[in-house]
């Protein structure tokens, strides 16, 4: 028998299905491509004026700072040739772009699994129909409240709640996969628990909450003051983090073996686990491996035809980057804390501890979250081994 013949007989499953009942879509196919996924911030601007967000609602000068349609398509072409399977369109509000539908359909027809991050208030019947015809992999919908009063207190745009609810219904009618993301702040705190426990959800939808209002625009004092007003006090934040494990890092609390695995990464500059394979591109074309704003040390300007080289350089730099000698480096809470270089720049304008995060961690310690001393890291190891045996 020839080799091809053997292969033919050894794998009789000509067609296999990958679905959401098995792990995440992305860590799925087991492909080791150069670039796994892409996150494109299409615009800096938003149609809403949320008290909790740094994004500008001034639309006047935005087009000058944004990549044009042709360049975005070229980026998609290059990313596809590097093996990227997922692309996320975010902003600001991506639906603000006049060419959104054009770019979206281009990405779909290119064979990307497309996710959209949106407040959905700008959806039109034409966009809804487009999503029905060419469904996105998922739309992550920002939820600011469940009543008109609270929702519009946060968004500060009259009529936005009705648009949100109507479009949510429109998306659900069309069976579009949604991920509902509640953004928790002092204005909508009362509705958060209701959202978590009783807000209806289809079995193929996800719902979660974002806790930290990290989008803190340093250059805008008015915006900073607004954000500070609605941030939850550290003790309350700790309560939500502890009760609902909203924090992406809280999983480590409950798994000693995970703590041990990640321990060595304490000294690494980048220790984010979820976005390590996602290249983020800002509205003006700055590339970095982080899903939000680029950090100065680790970004490159996109040039046509150079995406592969940019990815190579950034990955190399990321692999070797060591966390600078700041207080956080040896903090026994670092594994649980949301501190990262991005947040440090956003909150503090430099690589430095973020006092608000320190306060939250102290409160968490009071609630019983252990600091990660050697004893804690290795606690339970013997028991685990015995159980294994």
């Amino acid at each position: 028998m020839t080799e091809t013949c053997n292969r033919y007989y050894s794998t009789r499953y000509f067609l296999s299905t990958r679905d959401r009942n098995k792990q995440s879509a992305t860590h799925k196919v087991g492909i080791k491509a150069i670039l796994f996924s892409l996150f494109i911030n299409l615009t800096h601007c938003c149609n809403l004026d949320c008290s909790i967000c740094l994004v500008k609602s001034d639309l006047s000068s935005r087009k000058k700072q944004e990549l044009d349609t042709r360049t975005i398509k070229q980026i998609l072409d290059e990313a596809a040739s590097l093996g990227a399977l997922n692309v996320g369109f975010s902003g600001g509000e991506p639906l603000l772009r006049e060419d959104f539908e054009d770019v979206y359909v281009y990405a779909i027809k290119k064979g990307f699994l497309v996710s959209i991050y949106s407040n959905i208030t700008l959806l039109t019947s034409s966009t809804l129909d487009l999503f029905q015809r060419y469904p996105p992999d998922r739309i992550q919908v920002s939820v600011y409240g469940l009543s008109r009063e609270i929702y519009e207190k946060v968004t500060r745009v009259p009529g936005s709640f009705d648009s949100f609810m109507n479009n949510l219904a429109g998306l659900r009618e069309r069976r579009i996969r949604l991920s509902l993301q509640f953004t928790l702040c002092s204005s909508n705190e009362k509705e958060c628990e209701h959202f978590i426990h009783s807000f209806p959800k289809k079995d193929y939808e996800l719902k979660n909450a974002t806790i930290y209002l990290y989008k803190h625009m340093r250059s805008d004092a008015r915006r900073n003051a607004l954000i500070e007003q609605v941030m939850l006090p550290p003790a309350k934040m700790a309560y939500y983090v502890f009760k609902y494990q909203f924090s992406s890092r809280m999983g480590f609390l409950f798994s000693p073996s995970d703590r041990r695995k990640i321990r060595g990464q304490n000294k690494l500059f980048w220790r984010c686990l979820k976005d390590i394979e996602t290249l983020s591109i800002s509205p003006s074309g700055e590339c970095c491996f982080c899903y939000e704003m680029p950090v100065p040390e680790n970004r490159r300007q996109y040039k046509p035809g150079k995406l592969k080289e940019i990815v190579r350089v950034l990955l190399e730099e990321k692999k070797n980057a060591i966390m600078p000698d700041i207080e956080c480096r040896d903090c026994p809470n670092l594994l649980y804390c949301e501190w990262c270089p991005l947040y440090a720049y956003v909150f503090m304008g430099k690589l430095a501890p973020i006092p608000y995060f320190c306060e939250v961690m102290k409160e968490l310690n009071l609630l019983g979250v252990p600091m990660l001393t050697e004893e804690v890291i290795y606690a339970g190891k013997e028991k685990e081994q015995k159980e294994k045996v």
Binding site: M1, T2, T4, C5, R7, Y8, Y9, T11, R12, Y13, F14, L15, S16, T17, R18, D19, R20, N21, A25, K28, V29, G30, I31, K32, A33, A80, G83, L85, I108, K109, K110, G111, F112, L113, Q132, R133, Y134, P135, D137, R174, R175, R177, K202, D203, Y204
Partner: protein, 104 residues
């Protein structure tokens, strides 16, 4: 053999991606299963998928599969039938009578 004189036709509801040697069918239209992400094809599946794009009948696909993989006719017929049936059930292909096409 079922569909022997029929020609399978790909529907325009997926895009074929080849990433690092893996063949993926990425859905671009809405499917009944809301949990579906994508399909993967193995070597033989990809071989047949490519032939489907060239207006061959199911019978011709069997012959090409026999040549490519050195399998006997009975086995190839069974596998092609099984695979086409699966693709049809998943709404990835439809069938046309070969005679009808030739008369046109």
């Amino acid at each position: 053999m079922k569909w022997k004189d029929e020609r399978p036709i790909r529907k325009n509801n997926t895009v074929l991606r080849e990433i690092e040697g893996e063949s993926l069918l990425v859905p671009i239209a809405q499917f009944d299963d809301p949990f579906l992400i994508l399909y993967t094809l193995n070597d033989a599946g990809r071989f047949i998928w490519d032939i489907i794009g060239t207006s061959c009948s199911a019978g011709e696909i069997v012959k090409k599969l026999m040549e490519q993989y050195e399998v006997d006719e009975k086995c190839a017929q069974k596998d092609v039938e099984m695979f086409l049936s699966l693709l049809h059930d998943k709404d990835l292909i439809s069938f046309n009578k070969v005679e009808n096409d030739r008369n046109m």
